[in-house]
Point group: C2
DNA sequence: AAAAATTTGTTCGTATACAAAGGAATTATC
DNA sequence: GATAATTCCTTTGTATACGAACAAATTTTT
């Protein structure tokens, strides 16, 4: 079995990518039974925090490209997770709300994210958890 | 301006994703003049480490889905960064090599990754850098 | 109020990502 | 030594990602 080039385990882009790949994949597995993706779950969290946001507001909140979000919202409308309703003040804008079905599943779905988060953090000590999160936040 | 839901800055999947998004985007900017992507650069690093690897070996080394790698290698062959040559022992296998053009740019390209890495790390103290990398490696 | 600039959201093009299925070649098993 | 199991890689289908260009609507400027 080939080993890693000496530098790769030192390269932050690589390390961040692989750590995210792992966390992202695990969380997606957890969401699979619901037919939701990580990204779609994230959108719901945003909308539960503040229902009726516009796509632009959501994309700023979640640090997402508006072109990416556009597709995500399309699929979520298609599958009934969210509802778009036109803004009477500004005809360019659509206000976005979680659907009733989504709201019904809210406690369960929030719980899933907490589980996924704990699974990641449990290998670290409480001090390490604080530090790790601080490092990541400092990058954003 | 909307603020983040209280939990998002605590969610590791979110934090890892955004930190990676940032690092990945910055590195891609640096590589843009060469017409290379982060992923393609990574493939070259793998091949410089051990030329003649098969796609399967590369995908294990770089922790990549083989289906994803297949497309990346196609594009890199198309643009002349790598060369595929059939293995005489096993007709299923293609051995992959960096092209002459790629080798010529090797020092310059390696330097780019180092620069990107430093840009990320310079905001942390030496002790923090060690810790941060350890945390990320522990996740993989 | 007409022209210019900006904002909102979509569409297009390209590049990952990965599950699942498939074709071709090789190896293992009986 | 023929069948089964495995391996290598590609293809298909769906979901991000994001730059760039765009139409429609709104705001700003003059």
């Amino acid at each position: 079995m080939t080993r890693l080039p000496e530098d790769l385990p030192e390269c932050m882009v690589f390390l961040l990518g692989k750590a995210y790949q792992k966390a992202h994949g695990d969380f997606n597995q957890r969401l699979r039974p619901y037919g939701l993706t990580n990204m779609q779950h994230l959108v719901l969290e945003g909308l539960w925090y503040q229902p009726g946001m516009t796509a632009t507001e959501l994309s700023k909140l979640l640090i997402l490209d508006k072109a990416t979000l556009s597709g995500v919202l399309d699929r979520m409308t298609e599958t009934g997770w969210i509802i778009k309703s036109p803004d009477p003040q500004d005809r360019r804008v659509q206000r976005i709300y979680p659907s009733e079905d989504a709201n019904r599943l809210k406690p369960e779905l929030i719980e899933k994210r907490k589980e996924a988060n704990l699974e990641i953090l449990e290998r670290f000590t409480p001090e390490e958890r604080i530090l790790f999160k601080r490092f990541l936040r400092d990058m954003i």
